[in-house]
Assembly symmetry: C2
Homo-oligomer: 411 residues x 2
C-alpha cells in the first residue's frame, strides 16, 4: 500500500472540533487506500504558553535549562497526538500515537534546536503493517543518549518530510491555512496566483525569503531525498495546492516563480574604514562573535582611499551591531557608523535568472516608476533581493509582480 505522510500544524489541531476534522481527513486518506502517518504540532499556542510558563519559573530557559525546556515543550505535541488518535479511533479506524522518541526520530544533542540525524522507522513500519494509522509528534526527537530533544523552528514540517524520506513515502502533504504557494502573499498582492508546481530549490529560496508556508529545512530534506511535498489547505478538500518536486523545466527559459518578503531589517554603514580585506574581515568576525547575522554585505571605495562597509542586519540585532561598530571604529580607525531601521527585504525567485541581463533592469525600472528607493541588492542564481523601506514593501511586491506579469506568467 502506498505510504502517505500528512502534517497538521498547530492551527489545524487548535480545538477539539478541529481535531475531529483532522481525524476525518486522516481517515479519508486511509480509506482511499493509503498507509497513513500523520505528524501533528502542539495545539494552537500551547508551545508559546509552555515557554511563558518556563519564563515565569526561571530566566532564559533556552540557554540555561535547554534539556528541561525540551522535556517541557514536548508535552505539547504529546497532548495533540493523543487527542488526534482518540478522534480517529472514534471514526472506526485503528490509530496509535508515537512520541518523537517512540518513532525513533534520532537527533543530535543540541537541545531546543536539534538536527535530525536519522529516522529508524521500524516501529512506525510495524504499526502500519498491523493496520494502524500512526500519529507522530512533530518537532521532537531523541538523541543517541536517549535524551528528549526538540527541533526548533520548522520542526514539525521537518519531522514530516524526514519520515517521508525514511519510509519512502509516496508523498508528504503539509496541511496549512492557505491554499498553497502563491506568486506573492495574496494579502499584499491581490492578484497573486497559486503556483501549482515548484522546484525544491525555488521553494527553499521563497521560504528563506519570508514565505511562511513551509520551513526551508523541511524543503531541503525533501530535495536531498527527492520526497514530493504537497502544500495544501486544511480548510478545503477540493484544492490540489502546490506540489514541490524536481521539476523538468524547459531548457534555458527564464521561469519566474514568485515573490516573498520579510520586514524587520536594518542597515548599518560603517564609514571611513581602512580599505583592506583584513579590516572588513575584522568587522564581520566581530559581528559574528556578537551573534549578529549579516545579510547583503557590500562595500564602496571612496575617493580618499577609505572604505564604506554596508551591512544589512536584523533590526533585533541592531543595538549589538552598533556597539560592535563603535568598538571597531576605535580599534581600526574610522569615522562613524550610520544606521537605518524599518527596512524590508523583497525577494524575486525564479530559475534561469543567471546571466539574464533584462531581469535587473526590468525590476529597477518598475521600482523607479513608482518612486521606491532601493537601499541594497543581492542575488543568487535563482533570486534577486531588494532592501526597501518597510512602508514600501507592499508596493514593491506589487510593482515587481506586475513588471514580471506573474499573475499571468507565473506558472
Amino acid at each position: 500500500m502506498p505510504i502517505l505522510i500528512q502534517k497538521y500544524g498547530g492551527t489545524s489541531v487548535g480545538t477539539p472540533e478541529r481535531i475531529r476534522r483532522v481525524a476525518q481527513r486522516v481517515v479519508a486518506a486511509r480509506r482511499a487506500g493509503n498507509d497513513v502517518v500523520s505528524v501533528v504540532s502542539a495545539m494552537g499556542h500551547t508551545t508559546d504558553e509552555l515557554l511563558a510558563l518556563a519564563e515565569a519559573v526561571t530566566h532564559d530557559p533556552r540557554r540555561r535549562h535547554p534539556r528541561e525546556l525540551d522535556m517541557l515543550l514536548t508535552a505539547g505535541e504529546r497532548m495533540a497526538m493523543a487527542l488526534t488518535a482518540m478522534a480517529i479511533n472514534d471514526l472506526g479506524e485503528k490509530a496509535i500515537s508515537l512520541t518523537g522518541s517512540q518513532a525513533a526520530i534520532i537527533t543530535d544533542e543540541a537541545h531546543t534546536g536539534a538536527r535530525i540525524e536519522e529516522v529508524r522507522a521500524t516501529r512506525v513500519r510495524e504499526e502500519l503493517a498491523a493496520g494502524r494509522i500512526v500519529i507522530v509528534a512533530g518537532f521532537q526527537g531523541v538523541s543517541r543518549a536517549r535524551e528528549v530533544t526538540t527541533l526548533g523552528r520548522g520542526g514539525s514540517d521537518t519531522t514530516a518530510v524526514a519520515l517521508a524520506a525514511a519510509l519512502h513515502a509516496e508523498r508528504c502533504d503539509i496541511y496549512t491555512d492557505v491554499d498553497g504557494v502563491f506568486t506573492a502573499d495574496p494579502r499584499r498582492v491581490p492578484d497573486a496566483v497559486l503556483v501549482p508546481e515548484i522546484d525544491y530549490e525555488e521553494m527553499v529560496e521563497l521560504a528563506s525569503a519570508g514565505a511562511q508556508v513551509l520551513h526551508p529545512r523541511a524543503v531541503e530534506i525533501g530535495a536531498r531525498f527527492q520526497v514530493p511535498i504537497r502544500v495544501r489547505s486544511s480548510l478545503r478538500d477540493d484544492h490540489p495546492g502546490t506540489l514541490i518536486t524536481r521539476r523538468k523545466r524547459t531548457m534555458e527559459r527564464l521561469v519566474l516563480t514568485g515573490l516573498a518578503s520579510e520586514s524587520g531589517w536594518a542597515r548599518i554603514v560603517i564609514r571611513g574604514l581602512p580599505a583592506t580585506m583584513a579590516a572588513t574581515a575584522r568587522v564581520l568576525s566581530a559581528f559574528a562573535a556578537a551573534g549578529v547575522s549579516v545579510d547583503m554585505a557590500g562595500h564602496a571605495e571612496r575617493p580618499d582611499g577609505r572604505r564604506e562597509l554596508q551591512l544589512t542586519v536584523p533590526e533585533a540585532d541592531l543595538e549589538r551591531a552598533q556597539e560592535q561598530a563603535a568598538g571597531l571604529l576605535d580599534s581600526l580607525g574610522g569615522e562613524r557608523a550610520d544606521v537605518m531601521g524599518g527596512l524590508s527585504r523583497v525577494t524575486l525567485v525564479g530559475s534561469g535568472m543567471t546571466g539574464e541581463p533584462g531581469v535587473y533592469a526590468r525590476a529597477f525600472e518598475a521600482l523607479v516608476a513608482v518612486g521606491i528607493e532601493v537601499y541594497a541588492l543581492s542575488s543568487s542564481a535563482i533570486t534577486i533581493s531588494f532592501l526597501v523601506p518597510q512602508e514600501a514593501e507592499d508596493r514593491t511586491l506589487q510593482a515587481l509582480h506586475d513588471a514580471f506579469a506573474l499573475a499571468r506568467e507565473g506558472i
Copy 2:
C-alpha cells in the same frame, strides 16, 4: 549518602512561585546531606483539564481510548517536573527530570489504572551518583511492552513510596497542604490533634475510610517494604508532621488513633428474599457484574422465614443497584427494594480493639446521647464504621472524638 524521597502534590507545584518554593525545599534537603529524589504531580488542575479536553474530543476516553488517554495525561507531570528541575538548577544544584518511563517505573498493562510491578532504579542511581537531584514524574509508568501507563488514583504517592522501596531510601516525605495526620479532620472536629506516629495498618484503614492525606495504596507498599513515610506540610518548615512506620506498641493496650469519614453513601434493603446462601450470592454477583461496589453488607431473617438483605453502596452506583435489585426480585422472588441516600460512613481506627467489649458500647452510648441514628455498622480488627445521615457526620465525629478522649489520649 542517605537517600531521601520527597513527593509534592499538584497544589505544591500549582504556580511558578510555588515551584520555586518547592525547589528551595529540595535544595535544602540536598544541602543537609541527602541524595534527593523528588516525585512531582501535575500542576494544580492540569490532569482534570487534560481529561476535559479528551472528553471534548471524544466520549468516555477512559474506557474507549485508555492508551491514548495515558499518553495525554502523562503530559501533565512532564511539565511540572521540567519546570521544577529548572528552578533547582537556578539555585545552583544540578537537577535532572525523568519520566516514569525513564525512571523505569515498570507497571502492568492496565492503562489509566496500572499497578507498579517493579522499579528498576539503575538510571535514578546513576544520576544520584553523578551528584544530581532527580525529579521523577509521579503517577506514570511504562509497561513491559514499552507503553506509557498511568497509575490511577493516589498514583504520585504510590510512585514516591515505590521509589523509596526500590532505592532503600532513608525515608519518603509526602508533602501536602496539611500538617500531618490528625485524630479527625480538624475542619470537622475543631479539637482534633496531630498524630505524631502511626502504624502502617492504622494508616491504611484511616486512608481507606476517607482521610484524604495519603492514598492507601502508597501506605500498603510502605508496609510491605518497611519504608518509613512522613506526611508533612509543604507550607511550614518547622513541623515534623506524622511518621508512618512499624510502631512498637504497648502490649495489649487499646490504642485509638483517629477518625475518618466519607459522605456519598447510600443504603439499599432488598426485602423478602429467600433465606438461602444461594440467593444472597446471586445478589452480590449481580451487583459486582454491574460494577456496583458493596460495603457493610448485612442480612436479617424475618419471622416469616424470608430474608432482608441490607447493602451499603456508593450513592453514584445507587441507580444501577436499583436496576439490579428489580431484576433480582423478579427472578428470585421477593417483595421490594427500599433505598436511602445521603449517608456518611464514619470510621474509628485503633489497634487493640479486637475483643475489647467496651468500645462498641462506649461509641453507641455517645451517639445515642446526641440523638444520632446508626443505619449500619461494620468492624475489623482495628476499625469500627458507622453509617449515619450525612447531616450528622460532623456531630458523629465530634461525639466519638469526645467519647474516646482523642484530643487528650490520641497519641
